[in-house]
């Protein structure tokens, strides 16, 4: 059975881990898993997330708590703390175009060696990347992105670990679930079974379903 409690979840983490966190401006981010990670006090984390959340919400909590060494995201605009820490060198930030970020995560989960995209051509995103001309158009070669752990938020999760996401909470969650060695899902609701036609993350990508301590 994949069900573990928050304490077991916390015991899993170590300094220096890379962690993908689902969510888009914290919508679709599992706050209980973030809170538990804050309690672990593990540090030097590499966090991969669409954005920096808000100072007191989502991955912003980990940043405030000085647990993050490097943030890989598409924007940090709504988290002034992240901006300040980046400016004074206390947080390394790698900014990646959003479409490229999600596609790199997908490529990581899908076993691709990379993909060619026109996004970023003629900008500083080009730096350090291979440029390729295919059929007379210029592209950047973008490489796959993987991580140790994915923290996922499921709206409905069945006992097998199948996940359905509600409304705009889906965002990066399904791709991250595929791109990490260990995927933890926080279920907003646990149900017995789900219709196999509508499952968005099949159970084989979910290693643990995390629930409150008893």
């Amino acid at each position: 059975m994949k069900l573990i409690n928050i304490n077991a979840f916390k015991s899993f983490f170590q300094d220096g881990m890379s962690i993908m966190v689902g969510g888009f401006m914290v919508v679709g981010t599992s706050e209980p898993l973030i809170d538990a990670l804050v309690e672990t006090k593990v540090k030097d984390l590499t966090i991969i997330c669409n954005d920096a959340g808000y100072p007191n919400k989502g991955v912003g909590k980990l940043i405030e708590n000085n647990q993050v060494k490097k943030l890989i995201a598409s924007h940090i605009g709504l988290n002034p703390t992240a901006g300040k820490m980046m400016a004074n060198g206390r947080l390394e930030v790698e900014l990646i175009p959003q479409g490229t970020l999600v596609e790199r995560i997908r490529a990581g989960g899908a076993g691709l060696g990379g993909f060619l995209t026109p996004t970023g051509i003629g900008t500083i995103v080009e730096e350090g990347k291979q440029k390729m001309r295919v059929d007379d158009k210029e592209y950047l070669l973008e490489k796959p992105l993987k991580a140790d752990v994915a923290l996922i938020r499921g709206s409905k999760v069945d006992q097998y670990g199948n996940v359905i996401y509600h409304a705009t909470t889906r965002n990066f969650n399904p791709m991250m679930a595929m791109a990490c060695n260990h995927t933890f899902v926080w279920p907003e609701q646990i149900v017995d079974t789900l219709d196999p036609n509508y499952i968005m993350t099949p159970h084989i990508f979910v290693d643990y379903i995390v629930k409150e301590n008893d």
Binding site: I76, G83, L95, Q98, G99, P118, R170, N171
Partner: protein, 221 residues
């Protein structure tokens, strides 16, 4: 109309064509949704994962699971669909978005645009802007003509680019411009300004359209 932003948004809305898939940037561009012309049906896409984006919900009706790309509560209209970010950006980069409207810090006469970073000052990140600029079939910049009196329409962007040569049109409170291989052509003018006043606030040299029109500002909704 109560301010410059609304005025620009009203004019941009006239560019919407029936059936268009449209992505609006945060800020001024969002206002365009308020002025969709009568008889025109467009589908707003939000890059966080939905199509048929609707207006703000009534107070008390907000669903915390349903927001736009700015994290604000929204609604979904009939016929809409939710999807993940990979599909959302397949829509954007696969040229399935007919029109995107974005704000900007700078635009230049080559259609270059800079709107994601002011080095050592403001580093919000590019979010989905770089993808939208290369992927959307048509790119409209909607912004105030100047920043505290300083031109934003330049010969050459000085800030790091968001995309190279992707801008098609610029809409400001002074007029409507299109990017051509020969430079920026002023095609509509707000009659509150003269051509020379506009040129004075524009670093790039403007080509004045032979059939320069009065900026259409008002339309029925």
């Amino acid at each position: 109309m109560n301010n410059i932003k609304d005025m620009i948004a009203r004019r941009v809305a006239l560019e919407l064509k029936d059936g268009d898939v449209v992505n609006l940037g945060i800020g001024l561009p969002t206002l365009v949704a308020n002025y969709v012309p009568k008889g025109i049906n467009v589908f707003f896409q939000s890059e966080n994962g939905l199509i048929n984006l609707g207006p703000k919900p009534e107070a008390g009706e907000e669903d915390p699971d349903l927001t736009n790309a700015g994290g604000q509560p929204v609604t979904i209209l009939p016929g809409g669909a939710f999807f993940d970010s990979a599909l959302s950006f397949s829509i954007i980069r696969g040229h399935h978005v007919d029109l995107t409207v974005l704000g900007s810090l700078q635009v230049d006469e080559k259609g270059n645009i800079a709107n994601w970073i002011i080095p050592n000052k403001m580093v919000p990140g590019m979010g989905g802007a770089m993808d939208l600029l290369v992927g959307a079939k048509k790119v409209i910049v909607a912004m105030s003509h100047t920043n505290k009196g300083k031109p934003k329409i330049l010969k050459k962007c000085s800030l790091p680019l968001t995309a190279k040569g992707e801008v098609d049109m610029i809409f400001t409170e002074m007029g409507v411009m299109e990017i051509t291989p020969y430079g920026i052509r002023l095609i509509e003018i707000n009659p509150q300004y003269t051509i020379s006043e506009i040129q004075e606030k524009t670093e790039a040299e403007l080509i004045i359209a032979k059939d320069l029109k009065k900026m259409e500002l008002i339309h029925e909704i």
